[in-house]
Symmetry: C2
Subunit: 168 residues, 2 copies
């Protein structure tokens, strides 16, 4: 049996001036821009006016061994909540936003400040992606992405409680 695979090509790239370390620790992410490659720019038409967009990015710094990880301590969340590693449970990668996962694709919701259609540049806020991360898709954030009644598991609520915050 031949294994089925899918091939993606970057349509753009994340650009900002912050270090990877700074981005990892920025609770609300950083400001920066998405530079869409010349041949894809016409695909941005009509994006102006959406207050938020969803960036799909390929986390290119994730190594092959890290793609094999299936159980993790959610360190990124722990860091943002100011918790130590001992406070974190081990959970499956699909229950977390860990970059270590079989297909390291990030979904990042950013505030769209401005669009320059000629240059193919989106000026955005709340980026949790490193400088130079390849972008594979851009989608508008529409009302159907907003879930009214969100519930989360006890282990997730407990992390926020330990940090003195609310998870929902």
């Amino acid at each position: 049996m031949v294994e089925e695979v899918f091939v993606l090509r970057p349509i753009g790239i994340v650009k900002h001036s912050y270090s990877d370390e700074y981005v990892r620790n920025a609770f609300q992410g950083v400001d920066g821009f998405i530079e869409v490659f010349h041949e894809y720019r016409i695909g941005l038409r009509g994006l102006e006016g959406f207050s938020h967009v969803i960036i799909l990015a390929y986390l290119h710094k994730v190594k092959e061994e890290q793609k094999k990880v299936l159980v993790v301590k959610p360190r990124g969340l722990g860091r943002k909540l100011g918790l130590s590693i001992e406070d974190l449970p081990e959970v499956g990668v699909f229950a977390t936003n860990s970059p270590h996962r079989p297909n390291p694709i990030a979904i990042t919701i950013v505030k769209l400040k401005n669009v320059d259609l000629d240059k193919g540049v989106l000026y955005v806020e709340n980026l949790d992606l490193y400088n130079e991360t390849p972008v594979i898709d851009i989608k508008p954030y529409t009302l159907d992405k907003k879930v009214d009644c969100v519930e989360v598991p006890q282990w997730f609520r407990d992390l926020f409680l330990k940090a003195g915050k609310s998870a929902i």
Copy 2:
């Protein structure tokens, strides 16, 4: 220059008993399940208790020529709103959820009804994906995915107005 590409492998598959045509016309999507392949099942640990999850799927029925489309009439949205093709503007694919886009990856937010960790099955509602669609990632829907003040462009609002609905 060698073109940079990224290779994805499916971690599971969408299963339900509805036809593609039925799924296309179902405003709220359909019920069904996600079958996660055996080797990835441990990655589901801790997912029980999230009310909603985000399914990333590779739209395998999109043809090579359709990946080159950059401007579309948002037919899927038009169909769901009961509008005719003449009512729809031409906009860039990145301003729509069209399956025709350079990297045909769908983001679908589903209600998580139940998880069977042993069988690697998630029972879900609101699937807008065809039966047998390959799944490439699963992420929890957490509060940071919920944007409070969503704004949309005039062309998008106009479509909803024509259909007698509200876009925001």
